[in-house]
């Protein structure tokens, strides 16, 4: 049984959703089923694109039936430009996870070094400060030129955008491990490797995990834009392709799914974060 306290916001949420759909329905109600562009343009783009729901903004009903269609068969593959949204999302998630994992492999050990050594921090800080604010997409041409592969370049862009929050948070977490814990380790003559894994890592884990959570969020934002640039596969490419097809319903479907996947990724990392957080 849901208690009243939990029921109230749920009802309110459903009402807001209803309101959105209601306004959407009102706004698209009078939409003509006829031709919506002028004759010349209709000739140019073909009747299908110029008339009916394909060019008009879809009604909620159109959208929901389209969404239902996508969800009923998400993994079909009928050639390069016609793949199910499930497959497109899988490509995007795979790219995000590989770029993110590579970034973690580099950022966490490097962050450890920066956090432990003032010299390393001072030496690397100018590079971090300059590189951090660069839009990850600005690296794309350079990546395409040097890596010569659009798929790998997309992964590189994810790598470069996820590395900074993890690097900075790891360094901060490691540098702020409490002196008393380090003193305990010193008086117990704990060897460096054991100290790193059994004192510093668990002490800094919540901060590191926060960095990872920020990174995965940014990576998921960036992958859509990156895939619009490199094309071929992925949910970003799907959005751009459907824009070229003028299928607003498909774009809306993709937008919704991007949101849901992003939420799921954040949820997973929030869980991991809770797992390593300690109460003091």
């Amino acid at each position: 049984m849901l208690s009243l306290d939990r029921l109230r916001p749920l009802v309110l949420s459903l009402m807001i959703l209803g309101l959105i759909f209601g306004m959407w329905a009102l706004g698209t109600m009078g939409g003509s089923k006829g031709q919506v562009v002028d004759d010349e343009y209709a000739k140019l783009v073909g009747a299908a694109a110029a008339t009916g729901q394909k060019s008009a903004f879809p009604t909620p009903g159109d959208f929901l039936s389209k969404l239902g269609g996508h969800l009923a068969d998400p993994f079909y593959d009928r050639g390069t430009n016609d793949k199910g949204v499930g497959i497109q999302l899988a490509y995007s998630i795979a790219r995000v996870l590989s770029g993110f994992t590579l970034a973690a492999i580099v950022a966490i050990p490097l962050g450890f070094i920066i956090g432990m050594s003032r010299t390393a921090f001072q030496a690397l800080d100018p590079f971090i400060q300059v590189l951090k604010p660069i839009s990850p997409l600005a690296w794309m041409p350079l990546a395409l030129f040097t890596l010569k592969d659009s798929g790998v370049s997309a992964i590189f862009v994810i790598f470069i955008c996820s590395i900074w929050p993890m690097l900075i948070n790891t360094a901060f977490g490691v540098a702020s491990v409490r002196k008393e814990w380090m003193d305990v380790a010193r008086t117990l003559e704990v060897r460096p490797l054991r100290k790193a894994f059994q004192v510093i890592l668990p002490a800094a884990a919540p901060t590191i995990m926060t960095g990872m959570r920020i990174s995965i969020g940014i990576a998921w934002l960036v992958i859509v834009a990156a895939e619009m640039l490199v094309g071929g596969t992925g949910i970003g490419y799907f959005v751009w392709n459907e824009w070229n097809n003028l299928s607003i319903s498909n774009i809306l479907t993709a937008i919704l799914l991007i949101g849901l996947v992003g939420m799921a990724l954040d949820f997973i990392f929030a869980r991991l974060q809770r797992l390593v957080t300690y109460r003091d």
Binding site: W181, D183, V184, T187, L188, Q198, A203, A205, R279
Partner: protein, 285 residues
């Protein structure tokens, strides 16, 4: 008998901040501690008690002077000297058992899981924490946390135990209970102990010798008060001993008047601390 711990000419100087002259916290600190002795050090804040303890622990380097432990010079932290920190310094992500086991595995890395567990349990029992083995520090009261800290320090069976005002943050009742436990454990283990305290009664209960420090800067250990009361004294009965108030008054007088008088030059500053027995000779000072 050679002293177990020998401190010679210890001094600590901090560089001056922003043009001011350097600060000599203490200099010419000389003392000895014999095996099995319980020593308390008393002095006002800022006289460098904690710094001395940290030097003994090897956590801080003195500006000059030497510390010898069992014939070997102390140059850094070592498993020979267990430390109980003022803030308990437990690792919050480990359980009670985990915290103590961490120390035990540091000392005996080759022990099996079973050996470690047995040893840990022994020390959990010693501080009466049965039933809380699998709790995290956040679930424990202040007194229980400090018990874990004590168990962790005792569990590595160090040559010497250093306690930095371990009961300062506890309420009077809890403090009394843990003091009793500490007396019991020290008697069982014959541990050599060096402890900082602000509590005069605590020092009289626990210590065989009480070191009195003058105020800083240029603080010294001015006197060593030998506790002539029998070791069987307890918290509940010791104030009936005629010696108790003689010793207590001597300590209070020192803290209230003489600590300052010595630092300001009104009283001579001894190079080697004067040994006194105010319990037996009431008018020692």
């Amino acid at each position: 008998m050679n002293p177990y711990l020998q401190v010679q000419g210890l001094a600590k100087t901090f560089p001056g901040v922003a043009g001011s002259s350097e600060l000599v916290v203490f200099d010419r600190i000389n003392f000895e501690i014999h095996r099995g002795e319980f020593v308390c050090i008393i002095g006002h804040s800022g006289c460098g008690k904690t710094t001395i303890l940290n030097v003994l622990a090897g956590l801080e380097q003195p500006s000059s002077g030497n510390v010898f432990m069992d014939g070997r010079e102390v140059s850094g932290p070592s498993l020979d000297r267990g430390v109980v920190f003022q803030s308990h310094a437990l690792m919050p992500w480990l359980t009670v058992r985990g915290n103590i086991a961490f120390a035990v595995r540091s000392k005996w890395p080759d022990w099996s899981k079973l050996q470690v567990n047995d040893h840990v349990q022994k020390f959990i029992d010693l501080v009466h924490l049965q039933g809380s083995e699998d709790k995290k520090p956040a679930q424990l009261s202040g007194g229980m946390k400090q018990r874990v800290g004590i168990a962790r320090a005792f569990a590595i069976q160090p040559k010497m135990l250093l306690l930095d005002e371990p009961f300062g943050a506890l309420d009077a009742l809890t403090r009394g209970n843990i003091q009793d436990e500490l007396v019991e454990i020290v008697q069982q283990t014959q541990q050599t102990v060096f402890m900082i305290t602000h509590d005069v009664d605590e020092a009289i209960l626990l210590a065989d010798k009480i070191f009195l420090m003058s105020n800083g800067p240029h603080a010294v250990i001015a006197e060593i008060v030998e506790n002539t009361m029998p070791r069987s004294r307890t918290r509940t009965t010791m104030h009936h001993d005629p010696q108790f108030y003689a010793i207590r008054n001597h300590l209070i007088d020192f803290l209230v008047k003489r600590a300052k008088a010595i630092s300001s030059g009104l009283e001579p500053k001894p190079v080697h601390p004067v040994v006194v027995q105010p319990g037996i000779l009431p008018k020692a000072a």
